[in-house]
């Protein structure tokens, strides 16, 4: 990931595809693990940990969406709705059956996967723009259904309070507990995605993305793999929804509206389509963007504007910067932050020995 590969010669495909490309990579991962498992949670304030938790939730969702959009090449503007499916499944199970969180998490993910696969069925016949509009319709229809069917939404407010997750007798209530809880799933999601995309299934996804007709000719069952991509991606989304519900302590459809779908698309575009590291970069970037804008405006905005203007400006500024960033990355750097990172890394790869 960040190590220099000077003087390394690979002689087999296995070596080239390995998760740890170099012996030193284990050390890099170990250092990162120390930073994220010990340094950050034990030193940062609760508020910053809650921000970190939001980032972790976004990382899982962005990884899932990238499997679908980045690796398989199928567009989805319905991921917010898939998250809400997971969230409401888990919330209903938790409140009605009092089931433990692992069951809810799995059920939420599987339910979202099933719904996602159904929404993905049109992808057999249609693609590109039509698929984008079909998934947009899926988003609006799921939103409407959750909002109007009281069996799912649990009443007028369409919000269900869920109890905190428990580990044995310990209730995970503080942000620090949630941090560890979420980080475990982030690690599983990252390793799972990295392994998925280098497996047979992941190769099939990439073949479909690059040239679907050729993929079918070499024997890939397009329909099956497209639906599988939708299901896996929606599973991630459902898990994201469940984790977000546990993080907030409440399931509410307003947290999963179309803006969320667009946020996640923005993450993978800004981060880099078809890249695990890019999904992580994008999730961090887009989650922190509104927070940085708010803090920046609250600190320095009053130099230029009066306080009331600053308050009005913050949400609008967020929208403008957000949209402008999407356009900027699409026009100027289509491979996203991941490419910028690779450029930096490649520069230092054999440094200081030129050539």
């Amino acid at each position: 990931m960040i190590q220099r590969e000077c003087g390394v010669l690979k002689t087999s495909y296995e070596a080239d595809m390995a998760l740890y490309p170099l012996p030193i990579a284990r050390w890099t991962v170990a250092v990162l693990a120390v930073i994220f498992f010990l340094l950050i949670p034990l030193t940062l304030h609760e508020y910053y940990l809650s921000v970190a938790n939001l980032v972790w939730i976004a990382v899982i969702g962005a990884l899932g969406l990238n499997i679908l959009v980045g690796y398989t090449g199928q567009v989805s503007i319905g991921h917010g709705a898939f998250m809400s499916v997971g969230a409401y499944t888990a919330a209903n199970l938790a409140t009605r059956l009092d089931s433990p969180w692992p069951v809810n998490l799995l059920a939420g993910g599987l339910m979202a996967a099933a719904v996602g696969a159904v929404v993905g069925i049109p992808s057999l016949r249609i693609k590109g723009l039509y698929l984008a509009i079909a998934t947009l319709a899926g988003q609006l229809i799921i939103e409407w259904t959750i909002n109007h069917v009281t069996f799912i939404s649990g009443g007028v407010q369409a919000s269900i309070a869920v109890p905190r997750p428990r580990l044995g007798s310990m209730v995970l209530s503080s942000q620090r507990d949630m941090y560890y809880f979420l980080l475990v799933f982030v690690v599983i999601a990252i390793v799972g995605t990295m392994n998925l995309v280098r497996s047979r299934v992941g190769r099939a996804f990439i073949a479909i993305r690059d040239q679907d007709i050729a993929a079918e000719i070499i024997g890939i069952d397009i329909f099956r793999y497209k639906l599988l991509a939708f299901a896996i991606s929606s599973f991630y989304a459902g898990v994201t929804g469940v984790l977000y519900t546990y993080f907030l302590g409440i399931a509410n459809y307003e947290q999963f509206q179309i803006g969320v779908s667009i946020d996640y698309l923005a993450m993978i575009i800004v981060g880099g389509l078809g890249s695990v590291l890019g999904s992580i970069f994008g999730a961090i970037f887009i989650t922190l963007l509104p927070i940085v804008i708010r803090i920046g405006m609250e600190s320095f905005g009053s130099v230029f504007f009066n306080p009331q203007t600053v308050l009005n400006l913050i949400p609008n500024l967020r929208l403008m910067v957000f949209g402008a960033l999407i356009i900027f990355f699409l026009v100027v750097e289509p491979d996203g932050l991941n490419r910028l990172w690779r450029n930096i890394r490649n520069y230092f790869r054999i440094w200081p020995f030129a050539y």
Binding site: V69, G73, V75, I77, P122, R125, I126, K127, G128, L129, Y130, A132, I133, A134, L136, A137, G138, L140, I141, W144, N147, H148, D212, I213, E216, I222, I262, L265, A266, I269, L273, N312, L313, P315, N316, L317, R318, L319, M320, V321, F322, G323, A324, L325, I326, I327, L330, V331, P334
Partner: protein, 298 residues
């Protein structure tokens, strides 16, 4: 029974008039798609920005109506040209998701720009027509809807003529059909891309004025953009008659649904029914009623 029938006709007439006004907005979408194969997810925001500009010109600058409308039209045409040059041209030849996301990003920018530079409050956009509806038997027809429908019909037929008979329209169809051949025939493809976006800007400005008068001008005006997709999918993405027919279908369906289903489910059917219809259309006939049949099956 006559009351029942009267209610039905009321819903129908309302649906037809609203549907034609949807067609006007959908026309902006179709124009761009037809000429450049690009999709505009910011169509609703175009309408909002145009409405805001006209309303601001009238209220703050105190300009008379025709000046405000001219300013709005000119502004949106310039905006269309500029947008094509800066954002869309670099994206030619890139995957669909790139253009989709670029216009979604643009929508976000416009949503931020609107309240920041034009003020956040809801503004009125008064037109010199009365509010009193025409009453014909059981039908109540507000004049603004009639005006909107008339403007829609005029512009839809105008653009229909433009594409069928005018020199520029034929050139634009050639560009849409095959960019490389059009280029070889001496057509300046990029200029026609710009022209298509400018025409979309103009149509959006008209939509902004009419819808702005009907709903009031604020950020929520952009929500009419969500109605564009059912309209264009039903009618066919690249077809002007399709925009009319799709608009009529969506207008009628949502009014009938709102009239007969809403009492049972507690509202909201209006926004929901067109999308169900659209999903069905996508499964049965994805290229729409009049669209060109160019769906690859893999």
């Amino acid at each position: 029974m006559p009351d029942e029938l009267g209610f039905f006709f009321l819903l129908m007439s309302n649906g037809v008039l609203i549907g034609l006004m949807y067609s006007l907005i959908a026309l902006g979408f179709v124009l761009v798609y037809k000429a450049t194969d690009a999709v505009n997810f910011a169509q609703g925001e175009f309408v909002m920005i145009a409405g805001l500009a006209v309303a601001l010109a009238m209220s703050a600058a105190g300009a008379p109506l025709w000046v405000a409308i001219t300013v709005g039209l000119a502004g949106m045409i310039a905006f269309g040209f500029g947008l094509e040059r800066v954002v869309l041209r670099p994206l030619i030849g890139r995957p669909v998701i790139a253009v989709v996301m670029a216009t979604i990003g643009l929508a976000s920018v416009l949503r931020g720009v609107g309240p920041t530079f034009f003020g956040a409050g809801t503004k009125t956009l008064p037109l010199p027509i009365s509010d009193a509806p025409f009453v014909i038997g059981p039908l109540f027809i507000p004049p603004i809807q009639l005006l909107g429908a008339a403007v829609s019909v005029v512009f839809l037929s105008g653009f229909g003529w433009f594409f069928l008979w005018s020199r520029k329209g034929i050139a634009m169809r050639a560009v849409a059909d095959n960019q490389q051949v059009a280029m070889a025939m001496g057509i300046n493809v990029e200029r026609y891309f710009g022209l298509a976006w400018a025409m979309t800007g103009m149509v959006s400005a008209l939509g902004g004025i009419i819808w702005g008068n009907l709903l009031g001008v604020d950020i929520n005006l952009s929500l009419v953009g969500f109605k564009v997709f059912p309209v264009v999918i039903l009618g066919g993405l690249d077809s002007i008659p399709g925009a009319i027919v799709g608009g009529l279908i969506v207008g009628i369906v949502e009014n009938i649904a709102a009239g007969y289903v809403d009492p049972y489910v507690g509202g909201g059917t209006k926004d929901f029914a067109p999308y169900v219809l659209m999903i069905l259309a996508l499964m049965i006939r994805p290229y729409g009623i009049f669209g060109k049949k160019l769906i690859e099956r893999v």
